[in-house]
Amino acid sequence: MGLNSDNIGWNMNEVAQKVALDIHDGAYVNLGIGIPELVADYIPRGREVIYHTENGLLGMGKIASRGKEDPELVNAGKKYITAIPGAAYFHHADSFSMIRGGHIDICVLGAYQVSEAGDLANWSTGDPDAIPAVGGAMDLVVGVKTIYVITKHNTKSGTSKIVKKCSYPLTGKNVVSRIYTNYAIIDVKDKKLFIRELAPGISFDFLQKNTEAKLNQ
């Protein structure tokens, strides 16, 4: 479905920076595994953000430096991490009380597909041969106040990830507030998609041509 090049629009670091700009001072944030983790590097100076990792830590710090890894201090992606002064450890039921109970402000997740209604598919491609695995994704999308998606606009093969209706199994329905891609930032409002910002060199027409779902200006 049209062109998909890494040479146009933003690169994913720039997209992560765009997400970071939308995270307010004092926010409690959970970052999904992979690209969402980049966001932490771009929080503007003067803002303090507390990172939650669902395996039992509030106040996650940077990745552990080499030689200082503690196999019992990991994040949800099982990377060796550190904890900030003022951190807190807790067990899984308490950790998901924070998530399910609506205490976390923002969660940034990757996506296989997002629909124009804000439905998210990011846990399974529905491939019958794949080993099903869900982790905390379904808890995060229903519990966290604001769900941001960060993703390449299209798949490697050029298929639109922003779709009329998700064909992959849903993680949650009407859960995404905003989508950040290498081409644009798109708001989900009342089950419709609205362009918030276009990447340099990306026109609305180009974007619509490269997007299955209907976009609004």
Binding site: Y28, E48, I50, H52, L58, G86, G101, H103
Partner: protein, 240 residues
Amino acid sequence: MIDKVVKSAKEALAGIFDGATVMISGFGEAGSPVELIHALVDRDVKNLTVVSNNAGSGHVGLAALIENRQVKKIICSFPRTAISVVFPELYRNGEIDLELVPQGTLAERIRAGGAGIPAFYTRTSVNTSLSEKKEKRIFDKKEFVLEHAIKSDFSLVKCAVADKYGNLLYNKTARNFGPIMCMAAKTTIVQTKKVVKAGEINPEHVVTPGIFVSRILEVSHPADESKLVAENLKYDGIKF
């Protein structure tokens, strides 16, 4: 940057409104945030629904709030104490509503409110008058009662040590309802004996993680409420 420490009781209680649901920590006097409650007596807010294990003793703390006619309803497990005079009088006069909840069900309903669980089943109160009007359901051949979460607009909680992020430590059995009430509130207001620097509380020892706390007021020398009760003192506003 994050700093939840406020400078005055007035600032701590900002935004409390008529008709709000307010949770108040404590098991009797242990863990009762008496300075915050007295600051609430000083405020002109009424028709509060209070969630607390007891209903106050003597004429201070929660009893003073009730005596000042600010509470329309109390949800608690044990409104009667050896020296409770205020609640019994208003209750007998029909001037205050009571929702009586078994203590463990009260705790679990508050925890559910904080944990995003709208309702759960418990065996507590099956076959008693307290579950007469409640929905029942059989699991594994036993009957259980459906109980609903309780959330609050504000929780007033007493702790021992806090940092600017809102990480809390409690003192002994004064912990009681504090941690779960912090979880169940839209705005959690904590009075602490001591504020320490971030990092001074060992992250392994934190009882309430800061995410559950909105505002912290340092009250270095909190009154011993049981002494105020024993001395039959009466709090009736700032003149106390």
